[in-house]
Subunit: 571 residues, 2 copies
C-alpha cells in the first residue's frame, strides 16, 4: 500500500521522479496516433506525461518512442543460450518480454527444467512468462528424461509468471479424446492454452477449439490462417530460423482483423539472432512489405499483451512498465535506445549491462548419463543387405524412406561412404539404460570422421552420424564428457566442439561466442565433406518421430507414417 | 472431462447435435466479415459450422446472426426490477450478458445485497457478472444500511461471477491516498477495476491510473474521452436514462481505436427500457450516425468480452456460448430472434420464456426499519426566517443553493406553497436511528399533498417532499408499510403507489407492469401541481451529497461545496 501511495505521489508530481524522457514522438498503441510528449518514469513505471521534476532528464530529440517488443512464443533452448544470455542477445533488438515454452529442457529435466527456467529468468532485463509444456514426452517411441502429467504440472501454476499451457501439439490426442490430454486441458481451465495444429481444418479444427485453445503459430498458408482467425484463434505469425511464415501470412492482415495477430519466433538459432535480430526483424519485414508501422508495432506489443493478459506491458501509458525503445526512423525501425524498467540498457549500438557474473542456481543442470560405450556399441549385425535408409531432403525436417543395399561383411553391415550411406546412432542419455538405436542415413556427405549432438528433438538423446564406429564412439564420449554439446571428430580426435552443459542444450556464454564456435564447427564439418547448410540442425530433427517419413530414436528406426518401430533390414 | 469429451464428439459430427441454424449471415467479430454459414449448437455451446446431423434444424433464411449483446456497466436497481425481471425486459433487445455493479442494494443491505444479486441471477437466460461496489457508503454525511471495507469484500472474489471492483467513484480518495481506498485497490489486485472519474485530466488522471483502473464511463466530451483513451483506459460510452453521451463521443471512434470502446447503459429506468430498449438502442443510434455496423457490434460484443476477460462470450465461434441474435436488417438492427445458450428465447416480437414463478431465495430482502413517526416528526422550530433552500434545476441532478424567507409562526417554520417552497425530509430507514433531516426545496410545484420514495441515492433512506406534515407522515408510513416504494398522497390518502419490497429498491413484477404504475403515479403527481418531467428521479438525487450544490440527508442539510452539514437557517 505504501508502494502504491508512493507511485501516486510521483504521478502527481509531488516528488522527484527518476527519469524524464523529453521530446520523444510517442507511439500510442491505443489510439494509433503518434504524440509528441515527455515521458515520466519512477521506479521502473511510467507515471505520467509532461512536466515533471526529475533526477535525470534525457532529451531524445525527436526519436520515436515505442513500447518494448513481445515475442509471444519462443523456445529459448533453440538459441542454445541460458535466459540471461538470451536477454543479452535480444535486448539490442528491442525485445523486453518473451512468452516461453520450455519444452526442450522439460523433456530432459522435467519439472526441474521448468524450475530452472523460472529461476534463471529472475533479476534480468527481460520479462519472461512461462507456458507449461503440454507434451512431455512427445511420443512413447523414444526415451525422454521426463514424463509430465497434469498432476505434475498443476502445482506450477502457483508461480506468478506461469500463465498457461503451451502449444498443444498433440492435436490428435485432443480430437480423439485421450484422457491424459483432456486432463491437462482441464487443469489449465481459465488459463491460456496455446495451440499448435498445422493444417487442421473444418470439424477437426472445431473439435480442437472446444478445448479452449485460442491461438496457433503453425499457419503456413493464408487460407489456413484465415480459417483459424475466423474461428476465434489468435494468429501468431512465426518467423523462426527454419519455419518462416511472415511473407505468406502478411497479405491477410488488415485494419479490421489486425488486433488478432501476434508476432512470434518459435525457434531462433544463434546465427539468425546475431544476423537478423529478433521480433524487430518481423516488424521491419512487415513495414517494408507495406504494412502500416503502427499495426506492425501493435502486433508486437498491445496484441500479445491482450492475448496473454499482460496487464501492464505493451503500451506507453501511466501504470505500464517503462519498457521502451527509441527509433531514429520509424519505417526502417532502426533501434537507437532500449529502456528496461526505466533503465537504459542499450544505446547507440552498445549494450549497457553486463552479464558476466556466473549463473548461480540451486538446480543442478547436469543431465548426461549414459551406460559406458565400447567400440562394439554401434555394430550392426545382419545377414540381410537391404536396409531402410533415412534420406535427407536438404533444408527440410521431413525425410524420405529409401531402401538401399549396404556393405555386408561377415554378418556385419557397414556404411557405404561412396554412396553417402553413413551410420547414425541415437544413444539414450537420461537414465543410462544403454538403449542405442542404430541405422543408416543418406545425404550428409561426410567422407571421414563423425559429428554428434545432444540436441535431438524431442527427447534430446545423443545423436551421432559417422563414417566409422571409432570416431562415432569418440564423438559420443566427448559429448558425454562435456555434459552435452556439439562435436566434430576425425581420426579419434575432437576437431571442434561446443559444450552445452546445461541440460545438454544450453550454455552460459554470449551469443557472439556461441556463434563463433558454431561457425568454426561448421567449417570443420564442411572440411569433412558435409554439404548440408546446417548439418547440426538437420541432425537434431532426425530423431523427431512426429515428422515424416523415416526417423530414428534410442528405441530404433521409426516409420512415422505407421507410427511404429520398424526393423532396419528388409525381409 | 466427460463433458469436454462429449463436446469434442459433437464438434466432430460424431453425435446428433441439438440445433443447426441454417442459412444465416454470420457476423464475424474477429475478421470483420459477414459469412454465410450454418451454425451447429450442442448443450448451449457453438460446436461448429456446416453440415451436422441435428435434432432440430432452423432455417433463418438469410437473416444476419450476431453475437448476443453485452452491457459493460449497469446498475440493475435503476430499472426497479429484480434480475429475472430485468432479463425478461432486455432479452427482446438482444442483451444476453450484463456486467453489473450492485451499488444501490449494497448501500442498503451490504454483503447480503450482493449475495442476493448473485443468487437471483442464477438459472435465468442472462449472463450476469458482478463487480464489487467500491464505495459503500459513498460519504459519511449520511446513514447507509451498510459499510463495506476491503476485508468485507475480499471473500466474495471466490464467487465465479464476481470479476472485479466496480467504478472507483472516490477518485479524490485515490489521488489523496486514502488508506481504505488503497486497501480496496490492492484487494482487487489482478482483478478488473472500473473507473468513474468525470473530468479527471492530466496528472490527476495519471495518478488515478496508477491504481490499475482501466476503464471509464463518465466521459461527456470528446476531448475527455480521447485523453483517457490515449492513456490506456477502455472507454465505456454510456447512454442511460439521464446521462446520455453517445452522440457526443461517437465522432471520435474510428477503425484504429474502436477496439478500446464499449457500450454501457449505467442506469436505465423502466420507461426507457420499454420505449427505447437497451444496448440495441446504442447500436442503432451509432449505425444511423454513420458508424460501420461491424464496429458498432464489436463495441457491444467482443470488446467488452476482451476487457472483462469473458473468454467464451461475444463471438460466434466454436467453444463460445450460443448466445445469438438474428436480425432482419443489419443497418436498422431490427432483432427478429434471440437465442440464449442455444434456446430460442425471443421470436418475432414474442418472449418465449415465462418468469411467472415467485423468486424464492434464502436471503431476506425486507429492509425498511424506521423509528415510529408522529405528526410532530417533521416540525421545524426556528426563530429565524431566512432558510437555505434547495433549488431544483429541471432535468438536472445538480441543485442550486438559494436563501429564501419562509413562513414563520410561533417559532415554527412552514412551507410557502405560493412561492413553491415545500418541505423536504429524509428519514433514516436502515436501523431505526430516528434520524430525520428536514429542510426546504423549491421547484416541485406541488400545490397539495406529498410524494415520497425509498430510492434516494446513495443510502436510499426515505425521502419525502410535501406541502404539509400530515400528508408527509402518511407518505412515510405508507412507504414503510410497503417495505419501500414510491407513493403519492393527498388528504391523508394514498392516491397511487408502487411497492418496491426488495431492499426498498426493486420489485419482482414485469417491466410493463412497473411502467404502467409509474405512469399512473406520474399522472397523479402532475394533478397535485408538479411540473417536473420525472419528479421521483429528481427526488432520488436530492439526497446525494456528492453532487453540488445543496443536498439533504438524514443527518441534515449538506453544502456539497464545503462537504459539510450546515444549519438550515441563516444567522
Amino acid at each position: 500500500m505504501k508502494a502504491l501511495a508512493e507511485m501516486i505521489e510521483a504521478s502527481l508530481g509531488d516528488k522527484e521522479i527518476d527519469l524524464l524522457i523529453k521530446n520523444g514522438k510517442v507511439i500510442n498503441v491505443f489510439s494509433g496516433e503518434i504524440e509528441k510528449k515527455d515521458v515520466a518514469i519512477y521506479k521502473g513505471i511510467i507515471v505520467g506525461f509532461g512536466d515533471y521534476r526529475a533526477r535525470k532528464i534525457l532529451d531524445i530529440k525527436g526519436e520515436f518512442l515505442c513500447p518494448g517488443l513481445i515475442d509471444g512464443h519462443v523456445h529459448i533452448e533453440s538459441s542454445m543460450l541460458t535466459i540471461p544470455r538470451f536477454a543479452q542477445a535480444v535486448i539490442p533488438h528491442g525485445t523486453t518480454t518473451v512468452v516461453i515454452d520450455p519444452h526442450e529442457i522439460a523433456n530432459v529435466m522435467g519439472i526441474d527444467g521448468i524450475k530452472f527456467m523460472v529461476e534463471s529468468s529472475k533479476r534480468i532485463p527481460l520479462n519472461v512468462f512461462i507456458m507449461l509444456p503440454s507434451c512431455v514426452p512427445a511420443t512413447n517411441l523414444e526415451t525422454s528424461g521426463a514424463k509430465l502429467d497434469a498432476k505434475d504440472l498443476k502445482p506450477l501454476f502457483k508461480e506468478d509468471r506461469i500463465i498457461g499451457l503451451a502449444e498443444m501439439m498433440n492435436f490428435p490426442g485432443v480430437i480423439n479424446r485421450d484422457p491424459e490430454v483432456l486432463k491437462k486441458i482441464e487443469m489449465a481451465n481459465r488459463k491460456i492454452i496455446d495451440g499448435h495444429a498445422p493444417g487442421l481444418s473444418g470439424k477437426n479444427l472445431y473439435a480442437y477449439l472446444m478445448a479452449n485453445i485460442r491461438s496457433d503459430h503453425e499457419c503456413t498458408k493464408p487460407e489456413e490462417a484465415l480459417e483459424k482467425l475466423r474461428n476465434g484463434m489468435w494468429i501468431m505469425i512465426r518467423e523462426g530460423s527454419t519455419a518462416k511464415n511472415l511473407k505468406d501470412l502478411l497479405p491477410i492482415v488488415n485494419t479490421k482483423n489486425s488486433r488478432r495477430f501476434l508476432f512470434v519466433t518459435d525457434d531462433r538459432h544463434p546465427k539468425e539472432l546475431v544476423e537478423d535480430g529478433h521480433i524487430d526483424s518481423l516488424i521491419k519485414i512487415s513495414i517494408s512489405s507495406g504494412l502500416d508501422p503502427i499495426l506492425a508495432i501493435q502486433m508486437a506489443t498491445i496484441n500479445p499483451s491482450q492475448y496473454f493478459g499482460l496487464n501492464n506491458l505493451g503500451a506507453i501509458a501511466p501504470g505500464y512498465r517503462a519498457d521502451l525503445i527509441s527509433l531514429e526512423d520509424l519505417k526502417k525501425f532502426k533501434i537507437k535506445k532500449v529502456f528496461k524498467d526505466g533503465s537504459l540498457v542499450f544505446n547507440n549500438g552498445r549494450t549497457l549491462i553486463s552479464y558476466d557474473k556466473k549463473l548461480k542456481l540451486s538446480i543442478k543442470t547436469k543431465s548426461v548419463r549414459i551406460k559406458p560405450l565400447s567400440d562394439e556399441s554401434f555394430i550392426i549385425k545382419s545377414d540381410k543387405a537391404y536396409a531402410k535408409v533415412i534420406k535427407i531432403i536438404p533444408d527440410q525436417i521431413v525425410t524420405e524412406k529409401v531402401v538401399k543395399r549396404v556393405i555386408l561383411k561377415d554378418g556385419i553391415a557397414y556404411p557405404d561412404i561412396k554412396e553417402d550411406i553413413l551410420k547414425i546412432a541415437v544413444i539414450e542419455r537420461h537414465r543410462a539404460t544403454g538403449n542405442i538405436g542404430v541405422g543408416f542415413v543418406q545425404g550428409f556427405g561426410l567422407k571421414k570422421g563423425a559429428i554428434g549432438s545432444s540436441i535431438s528433438h524431442d527427447s534430446h538423446n545423443i545423436i551421432i552420424v559417422g563414417t566409422n564406429d571409432i570416431d562415432m564412439l569418440k564423438a559420443a564420449e566427448a559429448i558425454s564428457e562435456m555434459g552435452g554439446g556439439l562435436v566434430a571428430v576425425s581420426d579419434k580426435k575432437v576437431l571442434e566442439s561446443l559444450a552445452l552443459p546445461i541440460a545438454g542444450l544450453m550454455t552460459d556464454i554470449s551469443v557472439a561466442e556461441v556463434q563463433k564456435r558454431l561457425s568454426a564447427i561448421g567449417k570443420v564439418v564442411k572440411s569433412l565433406g558435409c554439404k548440408l547448410s546446417d548439418p547440426f540442425m538437420t541432425l537434431s530433427f532426425l530423431s523427431l518421430p512426429v515428422i515424416p517419413e523415416l526417423k530414428i530414436t534410442d528405441k530404433g528406426l521409426v516409420d512415422v507414417n505407421s507410427f511404429k518401430i520398424v526393423p532396419l533390414f528388409e525381409e
